[in-house]
Amino acid sequence: MSKEIDKAKIKAAVKRRKRETYKPVVPATQLGFIHHNVDCIGCRACEIACKDKNGLAPGPRFRRVSYIEGGVYPDVYAYKVNMSCNHCAQPACLPTCPTGAIFKRASDGIVDIDSTLCIGCRRCEAACPYGAPQFDPGDNLIKKCNMCVDEIDAGRKPYCVMACMMRVLDIGPIDEISDGSFQTTAIGPGDMPVKQVKNMADPELTKPSIRFIAHSKGGVQSKQ
């Protein structure tokens, strides 16, 4: 379905956007994801739950379970890194948007796109170091994970989290996830959450709200 564009509304939004200098929203509580790279079986139930939740056709894939493997036969290893949008503390996508369609919620730090303002220019897609915003040619819109805001507002957790067959994907206040005070099945006994895993863009770029339990071969030295 391609949407009706309200040109006047977009013009007004662009004007407003130009007037404002972007300073990142500091939310009351920043929610973020935690994923266990080893105990994840890589089943992609989370991915499909997300696709179905958001009614996505083939193409855009908000949640992406990457398969990483290495070693030489027969000494091999494999693990998964699961990422959607990281609802960054300093979102790279947000300031690039010419219409101000991208916003960060003050209550929980969720970064979302107002699809009535998105003109499909795809600037945010290029800006995000994690591949989160994706173009849906059917609707001529950029879409991305919005942490299932409707579910959050209803007092429930996102679809992907509730889909996880292993209970190794979760959301919570990112500070508490980091300091280990957050109760979650995603973190096993003795596991230490880290900010970055191998092959992942430097978290200093955007301060992504995501933590991982890394594989022994998938960690990044000195970047706790």
Binding site: G55, Y73, F103, R167, V168, S181
Partner: protein, 863 residues
């Protein structure tokens, strides 16, 4: 947000934020808001789900389940607006008795659906859905049909049936019902005794198919050894194992047994060690950080024999257990009659030590066959014999081979000699079926499984192609006590109910020849399938979202899930039960039986069932719940309340462990001897093998027997040097869901090749590869990896064939290459295939729609 406070409370509870943190963060929030005057104002942009989708709270919520033949049965929750399912979610703890959002205990875990179940809307609303009855107008397989009325379609089938039975007798129709719309307690498609079997049996024209594609090796083995297929544990018991040997088992792909993967994480956290024996380093191996032992396919029995030798040699067996519970393990446990029996003179220990054949089955001997170093075989044997409790889970895949039953029997021998049976944390699994559900709400009586011949399922095409020159042992005929015993059926017609067997049985080219020779091909299904393309009549069946039923766990788990009619049947689709009931009335009235046939077929219904099935279905289900579940299983929840909840989770008195009572209370096993029969009574007493359903000799103790082909074959490997295995894919349930583009986006139909083999052949990931042997050819993309044993390649089963004009399958269904030569016990030889391969310019066609390209390697497989 209507009420900020309420929202904060809700989110606080669902995120486990303690009250203190919650207060703290709300205060901080208030501060940030007042200080945030210069920030982008959030009220100018709105949070929303993508239009036009409503949120869950704006819709009606209906609990139901998934429905396929995967090894589990998870909850699905439909969120619907009017008569359209907008979204699916799964168990979140709310629906059960005393449930609440987020409840997820070890005793009553959530039943979270896998990716296939979550994609179910793609199947309900797919372009391949059959919505109207159709009659074929082109050649079989051409896919040309015209829409007809139900009247015309059913009369056509009824007349043809009567005609064929008159001309060819009671064996002429082959029943190939399978599990495509299976495992409801009421609307049951089943190979043995489902609704189609009942109809054809009562009509007195039915050849049934007795061997089960998935696991015939292990069912036969478990029946011989333990006297039952209920040899399994509930999956929560795995959390108690100290050692878990996963033989050819990849539950991270199959999701076998609802929460198995989840409980094994608990085992891992409790310090359990995992071992995976598999030609592939599977995601299961990765997740549980397992010791991976790559093994040549179809040689598992040899490795197990090598382990047995080490255990005997070092006297590590649990002799007390053997003496008390086992028959035929060694000289001391041999029954008196054995020496005079035609086939039961040897005991297992003598065989392993090579007393009679002069060949001790040492780890070194095994190494030469299975490719696993003798040192590793010894190490594993030692671990297994000295760790308790240890679970050897002998999964089904290695049994889907030539002489697959010997692998399962050998594994059972090891389970018994180490005494790991009937113990929490141990395992006697083979089949793995655990908790016993009340399974039949449909009429289940003397008419439920009538047949006039019963064949090994994968022999049907051979029988049709070679009739009448077919010997009874080639057909694998089940013996009868009347004059039809040994009579090979003249198959003239075929009935598919929820069955895509043309695609799913072995040697598709032979099947395609056979299908052209038949007089009638009838297909009842929810979508068109590759089999459907070869049908004369397509009868549209509604999905389980469009009819009333109750779901059972598949083979593990202890719960029932209500499946109400979530939406009205799409198009003119009907339930199987409606179709067979109406056919019974029609056939009855054409053959002078009047309404009798219909009335006895569907005992609670009148002919009006065709128009108004709901009250009758409700009656069947309520009666089943009250008479079976409430009476037999001491369930107190009334039917009406069960319907309101949508799910009933049993609480068991103790963890369910297979054979615990036999071991702890001395109750006899269900075998003739009452013992664990390593020497099998039944087999030991057979002298005329041709008259048995097996057809050919089977040793009465487990033995290593060379398969008809493997990497050890001295000549066949020259022409076809690679061994192909065909495991279950993750993104399909067999062939179901192959038409879902969003699932095909997650995984390719690909061939897995070891890096060194690929280098020799000049193949890199993503290249198209042609794979062939003397039985057929196909084209698939390559996935090149270190995770695969050299010499072995793997293509998942279940892709919908898509032939080019030269008969090459561009979709890459490995059954183009498999052989229709079952083992004596009836196991399919799906994993006994030699092939050759080369890079090709031929195109691969992932799906009939051609709209989707898998992005699985885009998202980082070979990083």
């Amino acid at each position: 947000m209507s009420d900020d406070n309420d929202f904060n409370k809700l989110i606080a509870s669902s995120l486990n934020m303690g009250r203190r943190t919650f207060l703290k963060s709300s205060a901080a929030g208030a501060a940030a808001l007042t200080a945030g005057g210069g920030l982008l104002k959030t009220d100018k942009a709105e949070a929303q789900t993508y239009e036009p989708y409503p949120t869950d709270n704006q819709m009606e919520t209906v609990v139901t389940s998934c429905a396929h033949n995967c090894g589990s049965r998870h909850m699905l929750v439909a969120h619907k607006k009017n008569d359209v399912i907008v979204r699916l979610s799964s168990d979140d703890g709310r629906y059960q008795r005393d449930g609440c959002y987020g409840k997820d205990t070890d005793e009553e875990p959530q039943l979270r659906a896998c990716l296939r179940g979550r994609a179910y809307r793609e199947r309900i609303y797919c372009p391949e859905r059959l919505l109207y009855p159709m009659l074929r107008v082109g050649k079989r397989g051409e896919g040309k049909f015209k829409r007809v009325s139900w009247d015309e379609a059913l009369d056509f089938v009824a007349k043809k049936l009567i005609d064929i039975k008159e001309k060819y007798g009671s064996q002429a129709i082959l029943d190939q019902s399978y599990a495509g719309s299976s495992y409801g307690v009421l609307h049951k498609s089943d190979q043995i005794d489902g609704l189609q079997g009942r109809f054809l049996g009562m009509f007195a024209c039915r050849t049934s198919s007795w061997s089960v594609p998935s696991y015939q090796a292990t069912t036969t083995s478990s029946k011989w050894t333990f006297g039952t297929i209920e040899d399994g544990n509930e999956d929560d018991t795995f959390a108690h194992s100290k050692l878990m040997i996963m033989w050819g088992w990849n539950p991270a792909y199959t999701f076998h047994g609802g929460n198995t993967v989840y409980y094994m994480r608990k085992a891992k956290q409790n310090g359990c060690k995992f071992v995976v024996i598999d030609p592939l380093y599977t995601d299961t191996a990765a997740t549980y950080d397992a010791w991976w032992i790559p093994i040549k396919p179809n040689t598992d029995a040899a490795m197990l024999a090598g382990m047995a030798h080490y255990i005997f040699d070092n006297n590590l067996q649990d002799q007390a257990f053997i003496d008390k519970f086992v028959q035929g393990m060694d000289a001391g446990t041999m029954p008196d009659w054995a020496t005079d029996s035609p086939n039961g003179k040897e005991n297992f220990k003598d065989y392993i030590l090579g007393k009679n054949d002069g060949q001790p089955k040492t780890p070194e001997w095994a190494e030469k066959i299975c490719g696993v170093k003798a040192a590793d075989i010894k190490k594993l044997a030692d671990m297994y014999a000295t760790t308790k409790p240890a679970a050897l889970k002998a999964c089904w895949g290695p049994g889907r081979t030539d002489y697959g039953e010997q692998y399962n029997r050998m594994a059972a021998a090891l389970q018994a000699m180490t005494g790991n049976i009937g113990m929490l944390g141990g395992s006697a699994e083979g089949v793995g079926k655990a908790w016993h559900a009340e399974g039949a709400a449909y009429p289940y009586d003397q008419y439920s499984n009538i047949w006039f011949s019963s064949i090994k399922s994968d022999r049907w095409a051979y029988i049709v192609n070679n009739y009448p020159n077919v010997a009874r042992e080639e057909a694998g005929l089940w013996p009868r006590q009347d004059n039809l015993d040994g009579v090979v059926p003249n198959i003239r017609g075929i009935f598919w109910q929820g069955s895509n067997w043309l695609n799913q049985l072995t040697n598709i080219n032979a099947e395609m020849d056979a299908i052209q020779k038949l007089d009638l091909v009838v297909c009842l299904d929810q979508t068109i399938t590759t089999s459907g393309l070869f049908a004369d009549v397509l009868l549209p069946i509604c999905t389980h979202f469009e009819r009333h039923d109750v779901a059972l766990p598949w083979y593990k788990g202890h719960y029932y899930i209500h499946r109400p009619k979530v939406i009205e049947p799409l198009g003119e689709s009907k339930t199987d039960f409606q179709v067979f009931t109406e056919l019974a009335y029609r056939v009855g009235n054409m053959t002078g039986m009047g309404d009798k046939f219909g009335e006895v077929y569907n005992t609670k219904a009148t002919r009006d069932y065709w128009n108004n099935p709901d009250p009758v279905d409700e009656d069947y289900l309520r009666t089943w719940w009250e008479d079976r579940v409430m009476q037999h299983q001491h369930v107190e929840m009334p039917w009406v309340e069960f319907k309101k909840h949508g799910v009933y989770k049993m609480k068991l008195d103790r963890p369910h462990v297979g054979f615990q009572d036999q071991i702890e209370k001395g109750i006899p096993f269900q075998t003739p001897s009452g013992k664990i029969e390593i020497l099998c009574d039944e087999l030991a007493r057979i002298s005329d093998w041709k008259k048995t359903k097996y057809g050919y000799h089977i040793p009465s103790i487990p033995k290593w027997i060379e398969p008809f082909e493997s990497l050890n074959h001295p000549t066949k490997t020259k022409k076809h040097p690679y061994h192909l295995i065909t495991p279950h894919p993750r993104h399909r349930t067999h062939s179901i869901f192959n038409n879902s583009a969003i699932l095909r986006e997650t995984y390719d139909q690909e061939i897995t090749i070891n890096t060194s083999d690929a280098k020799k052949l000049g193949i890199t990931t993503g290249d198209k590869v042609e794979v062939w042997n003397d039985r057929g050819r196909l084209v698939v993309p390559a996935y090149v990896t270190q995770r695969c044993m050299p010499g072995v390649v793997s293509i998942p089963e279940g892709a919908w064939i898509d032939l080019d004009k030269n008969g090459i399958d561009r979709a890459g269904n490995p059954n183009m290459l498999t052989a229709d030569t079952p083992s004596p016990a009836g196991s399919f030889a799906y994993n006994t295939i030699l092939v050759n391969l080369r890079k090709t310019d031929l195109q691969h066609r992932a799906g009939w729609d051609e709209t989707s390209v898998s992005r699985s390697h885009v998202f980082g497989r070979d990083i």
